[in-house]
Symmetry: C2
Subunit: 324 residues, 2 copies
């Protein structure tokens, strides 16, 4: 309405170039809507995630490629958490007037490299001039066989609780940033280049192993709470069993609090019947049992000395003190 046209043409032509990589996308950018084919016998998955400057990233901390990679990762991770396949991505991007074109180019490089890796065409979106800061909203459309989506609501008492990979790597990098350090991307891969666990999610769905699943974007304590809420169950987690990421130059294990509460790991948290044999690795990703689902509605943490305490969500609070 009041916006002036951006130098959008370069952006649009880049998006169009990638749109051709999928037979699912019948019409991509350049029309009022994208037209996308969902496979017969499948239903659609839809997820949207903001990546806002100053909220989800900082330009002085994160390279444009990292911001683009993380932006798409957030959406793909949600598709993974349903056991789904990504079909197409849509990017809404608002940029301030004086943002250098190279920032946008490098952001798109990071986003499109991850898109290519997962064979997801970027099929549309919106662009606008932002009044302040860079604002991205990623939409990922996915598909899953009808009735096959792994929901948060399926956990049953007695199920065992598992996570993929290691936890706390995302928060540990933030710890370093807030301490005034410059963590190196190669020493904190889960913060800078989280890889969505699409293949693990697919395996769990195809083998009917998981009864409930969520991706760890807000932190174990918060996201476990979501599964317990939606499934109306409780849980107990063995603190010692939680796999801690190894980070930094000496590959030291992160603090337990980062593994228990830190967000942005984009690993999967799932439950499975105790009768099922869950492999210790799926698609090369280690799978670790960390606890079990209980009948009461308490969520408890069991320490080494068998002491039990309430395992409360501290995912957001963890960062609040440092960010305000």
């Amino acid at each position: 309405m009041f916006a002036v046209p951006l130098a959008e043409k370069a952006l649009i032509s880049r998006i169009r170039a990638t749109s051709r990589t999928s037979t699912a996308v019948r019409t991509g950018i350049g029309d009022d809507c994208a037209v996308v084919r969902i496979p017969v016998g499948h239903e659609a998955l839809v997820t949207t995630d903001f990546s806002l400057e100053g909220v989800h990233f900082r330009r002085e901390w994160h390279s444009p490629e990292v911001v683009g990679h993380r932006c798409l990762s957030r959406g793909l991770s949600d598709i993974a958490a349903m056991g789904g396949e990504p079909v197409a991505a849509f990017l809404s991007l608002a940029i301030p007037r004086r943002l250098p074109q190279t920032w946008i180019d490098r952001f798109m490089d990071g986003l499109l490299a991850l898109a290519k890796q997962f064979h997801v065409p970027l099929a549309g979106g919106d662009t606008a001039q932002s009044p302040d800061g860079i604002l991205a909203d990623i939409v990922v459309l996915g598909s899953v066989p009808i009735g096959g989506a792994i929901l948060r609501s399926g956990a049953r008492p007695g199920d065992l609780i598992y996570v993929t990979g290691e936890l706390g790597g995302g928060a540990a990098a933030l710890d370093r940033f807030f301490a005034g350090k410059r963590p190196k991307p190669e020493q904190y891969p889960r913060h800078f280049h989280p890889v969505p666990r699409i293949a693990v999610g697919r395996f769990l769905r195809e083998h009917h192993l998981a009864t409930a699943m969520i991706d760890l974007s807000d932190g174990l304590s918060t996201d476990l709470g979501h599964i317990c809420d939606e499934s109306r169950v409780g849980a107990e987690i063995l603190a010692d069993a939680v796999p801690r990421a190894r980070v930094g130059p000496r590959e030291e294990a992160v603090d337990l609090k980062d593994a228990l509460h830190g967000g942005d790991d984009y690993e999967l948290l799932f439950t499975a019947s105790a009768r099922e044999v869950v492999p210790s690795r799926i698609a090369s990703v280690p799978i670790t049992r960390i606890g079990r689902v209980t009948r009461n509605n308490k969520i408890e943490l069991i320490k080494e000395d068998r002491a039990r305490s309430a395992f409360k969500p501290e995912g957001w609070e963890h960062f609040r003190a440092r960010s305000s």
Copy 2:
């Protein structure tokens, strides 16, 4: 990552309450993704549109209900322009820390009233704290029979060009605002409460009448350019034939420039073969022939005296001078 939790629960419960109104939405908000059924024999339509404070609306000009209504209208209008049916909407909403809860409630009232009118459940989205200003991104998922979407690229030389409703009402309200006036919503309905032309789009698709279609969000001159670009054709428009909105207390016709270049009307612009009989009204909306598609790649405006001039996009430029 650095965000603190919003008072999201009220918002989420409102969204959940509306999610139940559709059998298409299998799982709405409260999981990693929404699970949505696309009808058998149909393909999915996806559109995303920003509504940014200071860019697409101003809090001192637009009530929260109007902002919510216009936000969803933008997405539904894109679905209409493909001849599609809306299936579900997704709202990403970032709000500044000190925004009153009543603003959000009233915004949702406006958005959900329109959603209800079009039987579109709000099935998910994202929320965040905005560093500055209100940021909304609306995603609408729609469906259309396979191969039935009306694209921008189908116009052929000799086709006739039509618009729905009247044009320029959106821009006329902006003229008033920029002149320091307070245009009344009931006197400028197309600005404050644009109604997406879903029923017209459906009729045109079902009767195979339209060869190309677009919604008028950027203004006739700009959007006609998009059809000509995508269809690789030219066009001539009869200035006198363009239906001008009647606005204000005396219901005066808007200036020709507002009808030719003004954005935000959310009417449909379409082309149809000269052999087809296009009704003068579809779903109670007047349909007006305004020109024809030509073989050369010129877009021309023909005035009353038969003088021809290049009909160049001025949709954005029209507002640029006043907004910077």
